[in-house]
């Protein structure tokens, strides 16, 4: 397997009247061909900005890619001209957005919207493109595709619209599919179906996937690796199984305890991470998670070095969260160890994903 995407030391800032917002603050990661990567974090952690940077879809200004490189299939994307970049968008790399209610053009038929990337990138004529559009709707599980092609977005339900969005995204056989919170705006029952669809398409088409979400429960069973992002930085990265089994960053621990589970007692409070998300206009010295971290130490004022937990597992933290002494200290500050809230589950929480965690 070759390397498909390499993001190196990417820094993205938003220029505002009050100063620069450090949305993405020096992140690096790689993606192999056929691999599925999850990027997890709260809103404002820089995960969406990262994905929009790859496609160079950020509004500039106010956004600015200050530093770093994004290499896709041996091309440096940040150095491509706008017209070269257009050949990548929708063709090599496609994207599914969060809100299917607003992401489709209300005045154009679904056919028109699916056919656009087909004709643009595959050079098919009108009738071939129509046939492909039809096949795509069928592939994403929309019944009566011939009739549905002539419909307008408002005639579809939210879940169906997201299926249309997926059909548009895979229309030109992209090598990489970026799904930015693809299920957040949908009903719980529909969420699982959409994830299942993405999983199946990925298997059938051999597409690499970047799945962006704030919900660790979504990536379980969907991805091979996970980057946990906080305040524009990668806090922890590991294989999916490893991350669930052996989380090493206090923030990851917080996210895991925030995953709602079906086996939780009814009426039990959802665990959330106390404190508010970081202010990226005025970033603090050292580790950005300090103000909310139960494990915090004085030396957190310096940014922690990479803690190499395993061959593919890195956490950026001074503390060994598995150390019982550290845990005692954290519990005294209100930390609830995961084993006390039901222990860690390998793989998927019952609510999401039917596919088994694959190893690529």
């Amino acid at each position: 397997m070759g390397k498909l995407l390499e993001v190196k030391d990417l820094k993205v800032q938003f220029r505002t009247r009050e100063g620069a917002i450090h949305a993405v603050d020096g992140i690096s990661f790689e993606l192999e061909e056929g691999e599925a990567l999850g990027i997890v974090g709260e809103s404002g952690s820089g995960k969406s900005v990262t994905s929009l940077s790859i496609l160079r879809l950020l509004p500039m200004p106010p956004a600015e890619i200050v530093d770093g490189s994004i290499t896709f299939a041996d091309q440096e994307l940040l150095e491509l001209s706008e017209s070269e970049m257009r050949k990548i968008r929708g063709h090599e790399i496609a994207m599914i957005f969060q809100d299917p209610m607003t992401s489709l053009n209300p005045v154009l038929t679904v056919e028109r919207q699916i056919i656009e990337p087909i004709q643009l990138h595959l050079g098919l004529n009108r009738s071939e493109a129509h046939a492909r559009a039809r096949a795509l709707l069928e592939a994403v599980g929309i019944p009566d595709p011939e009739r549905r092609l002539r419909s307008y977005p408002h005639q579809f339900s939210g879940g169906m619209r997201q299926r249309v969005m997926i059909a548009i995204a895979i229309a030109a056989n992209p090598k990489l599919l970026i799904a930015d919170e693809p299920t957040t705006a949908l009903d719980v029952t529909v969420q699982a179906q959409i994830l299942e669809l993405i999983n199946r398409l990925r298997r059938d088409l051999g597409t690499s996937v970047i799945l962006i979400t704030h919900d660790l429960g979504v990536v379980a069973g969907m991805t091979d690796r996970i980057n946990v992002m906080y305040a524009g930085k990668i806090a922890e990265t590991a294989n999916t199984d490893e991350l669930f089994a052996n989380p090493r960053h206090p923030y990851t621990l917080g996210l895991l305890s925030a995953v709602p589970r079906l086996d939780e007692e009814a009426g039990g409070d959802l665990n959330t991470i106390p404190g508010s998300p970081p202010d990226q206009l005025h970033p603090i010295e050292g580790c950005p998670f300090q103000p909310r971290c139960p494990f915090v130490l004085p030396k957190c004022k310096d940014y922690p070095p990479a803690l190499r937990v395993g061959p593919n597992h890195i956490a950026y933290c001074w503390v060994d969260v598995t150390d019982p002494a550290e845990q005692e200290r954290a519990i005294a500050r209100g930390f609830i160890p995961l084993r006390e809230i039901g222990g860690l589950r390998q793989g998927s929480p019952a609510s999401t994903g039917t596919g088994s965690p694959s190893n690529g």
Binding site: L55, L57, R86, R89, N105, V107, L108, P117, Y152
Partner: protein, 321 residues
């Protein structure tokens, strides 16, 4: 949708009917009544009484209204008090000139407004955007008749590029077909500029802000993520959506457009219905005033009706609900 159109149609007819009564009463409330207008004061009283009976002016108002409206429904607005011709033939003779000015002016205004609006939205905060914004502010504040006078003076009288008055040369003998067309076209240029200024200014500003709203929408990001060129993104994906509210705005402004035509025709001696309207007011030519008011109101109401239907046609969310 069909039921909606039918309901709006009935409302429109009812409104027009009520307004016709209002106009009729308004005209008959003129101090001194039609007598003063119609009859030479030197006529002997017996002749005047005879004429009153002949014009039906001796009848009570509601009978007069009934007589008038029943003729109107048959397309007969009576005879002008001034030239004693049927009002409909006076209007018919002037309609082509007005329609010419109206259609060309409206299309010109729309095309220029859309181009300026899109352009300044695409290049937001550029020098072009800035210049267009300043010009639209001046255009909106401009007293149109003054603008017309200045256009006429500069481009017709001083520079001689265009004719200053009328719809065509009085004498077209010896003109080839092409020259006749050119003659009409040249006469049209300045009136169209005057007529459309206000609406170019207003609509381009409206479209600019509507475009700026639309390009922030998620579906524009989707379109860009497909790899579409910015030209297609703007013209296929953004403009269609931005034009929807403009349709309403054009309908709201339709009355202003009609009034603009009246003013333009008078400045450029354009032989249309607007001129006829103003002269009928000066002459107190009742039948013509009534016919023109009815006509203008009907066209405003119809324009709004068309805009409502058109709104449904271009916005599928309404068409299918």
């Amino acid at each position: 949708m069909r039921r909606y159109v039918i309901r709006r149609l009935i409302q429109a007819v009812a409104m027009l009917f009520v307004m016709s009564i209002v106009f009729f009463l308004l005209i008959h409330a003129i101090p001194g009544g039609p007598d003063r207008v119609l009859f030479n004061p030197k006529l002997p009283p017996s002749v005047r009484i005879q004429l009153r009976i002949q014009y039906g002016l001796d009848q009570p108002l509601y009978i007069q209204y009934w007589n008038w409206i029943s003729h109107v429904l048959q397309g007969n607005f009576g005879d002008s008090f001034v030239d004693h011709q049927p009002v409909m033939s006076d209007i018919g003779a002037r309609a082509p000139a007005t329609i010419e000015l109206f259609v060309v002016g409206l299309l010109f205004a729309l095309v220029v407004a859309i181009l300026l609006g899109v352009f300044s939205a695409v290049r937001q905060y550029s020098l072009t955007d800035y210049v267009v914004t300043v010009l639209t502010y001046f255009g909106i504040a401009m007293p149109v008749f003054f603008f017309g006078l200045v256009l006429q003076e500069i481009f017709a009288v001083q520079l001689g590029w265009f004719p200053d008055l009328g719809r065509a040369s009085v004498d077209q003998t010896g003109f080839t077909a092409l020259e006749v067309f050119e003659d009409y076209a040249l006469h049209l240029v300045l009136p169209v500029f005057m007529f459309s200024l206000l609406f170019i200014a207003g609509w381009s500003r409206y479209l600019r802000s509507s475009m700026l709203d639309v390009v922030k929408q998620d579906y524009i990001r989707t379109a860009r993520a497909k790899g579409l060129s910015s030209r297609i993104v703007f013209f296929r994906h953004a403009l269609r959506n931005a034009l929807i509210p403009l349709v309403t705005q054009v309908a709201i402004d339709f009355g202003g457009i009609a009034a603009g035509a009246v003013i333009t025709e008078t400045i450029f001696a354009w032989p249309g219905m607007g001129q006829l309207f103003l002269s009928s007011l000066t002459n107190r030519d009742y039948p013509v005033i009534l016919a023109m008011l009815t006509f203008i109101t009907a066209s405003v109401i119809i324009a709004n009706l068309i805009a409502d239907v058109l709104y449904g046609v271009i916005d599928p969310r309404i068409r299918f609900s």
